[in-house]
Subunit: 173 residues, 2 copies
DNA sequence: TATCATCCGATATTTAATATCAATCACTCG
DNA sequence: CGAGTGATTGATATTAAATATCGGATGATA
């Protein structure tokens, strides 16, 4: 369902709104249309900028409100990664993400094998698992391209002690 | 390594600091000690409040700085979930999390089977996967206890159209 | 078209996190 | 043990993300 073409998703959204007696405003249409047409996962700010040309007066607050509403009715999901604002994902079915540690891009990934991950036995702890989601962390193609831009997680901290080796010698500053 | 007892982790931290010529300040000790002694994953603010009694003058900025430094040298990892501030996790090895959708508690989970998740074939897209991490979403024991406090994700939006059924009838309010 | 609940835009506010800078402190070396 | 040096600290200001408020506007229904 989260992978249907944009028009189908808009139609689904309109149906949902009518069912729930939620007004179908131009703001809501525009925000949803933008997010479902994007391959990546825009932040609220990106949505705001992108929608302004078509809806000149739209306010930031409305974008936040509409996005939140779209999440609540199940048209979008939120994804989040340390260091960046929350992003919105038009796919609500189970799928997973590649997260670039360098540019924070979030890329969808789907693989039938990933739907057969065993659930941990947490009954002893009384936790009820509803769903799961895998973050694959790494470096995306674009960032691998621009070499030597070191990933945040591997940035050396401090300076090596002169005369002592503490593992591989840190090269640059 | 992320599961060693607190004292061992503190010792490891001191070794790291000496190796990298990073000053070993009381603030750094206190912050690290607090996080490694906690079962849950405190936010920067929680760390700040908890450390104040022992280190009355510690500033919020220092807590942020110290936590950031501890992440960079590999003593902690950041975990994040939509709707709450970043949390800090003393376990740096591969492990996974139960995320309560209601109270946002984050609970560690480890299961050898979860270390054998197949990596998706993303070579075509040029993404280099370094590691992965699974979020199991659901409701924790404490929240299951206080019944009828509806989970955020299942909160009905809008009102059902009178006379029409749109799936399971919404019961409360 | 009239009615009414809801939503929108503008604004202010909260919260999380970062930047700046003088004074202090930890570490090293003599 | 004491001085020198560079990084850290605390205070403050600032940025950024997200939410709250409220009068006026708008969509849905009849």
């Amino acid at each position: 369902m989260g992978t249907d073409p944009p028009d189908s998703r808009i139609a689904c959204f309109e149906r949902l709104c009518r069912q729930r007696r939620l007004p179908l405003t131009p703001q809501r249409r525009a925000v949803l249309r933008f997010v479902v047409e994007r391959e990546d996962h825009p932040t609220a700010d990106q949505v705001c900028e992108a929608v302004r040309p078509q809806l000149p007066g739209i306010s930031r607050a409305s974008v936040y409100r509409v996005l939140d509403m779209l999440v609540r009715i199940g048209m979008l999901t939120k994804v989040c990664h340390p260091g960046s604002a929350v992003r919105f994902d038009p796919r609500v079915g189970r799928h997973h993400h590649l997260v670039c540690l360098q540019c924070e891009r979030i890329i969808d990934v789907e693989d039938p094998r990933l739907n057969r991950v065993p659930l941990p036995d947490v009954r002893g702890r009384g936790f009820q698992i509803n769903d799961y989601h895998i973050h694959f962390r790494g470096i995306c193609a674009a960032c691998l391209g621009k070499k030597n831009t070191r990933a945040r997680t591997t940035r050396p901290v401090g300076r090596p002690r002169a005369g002592h080796r503490t593992g591989p010698t840190n090269r640059s500053r």
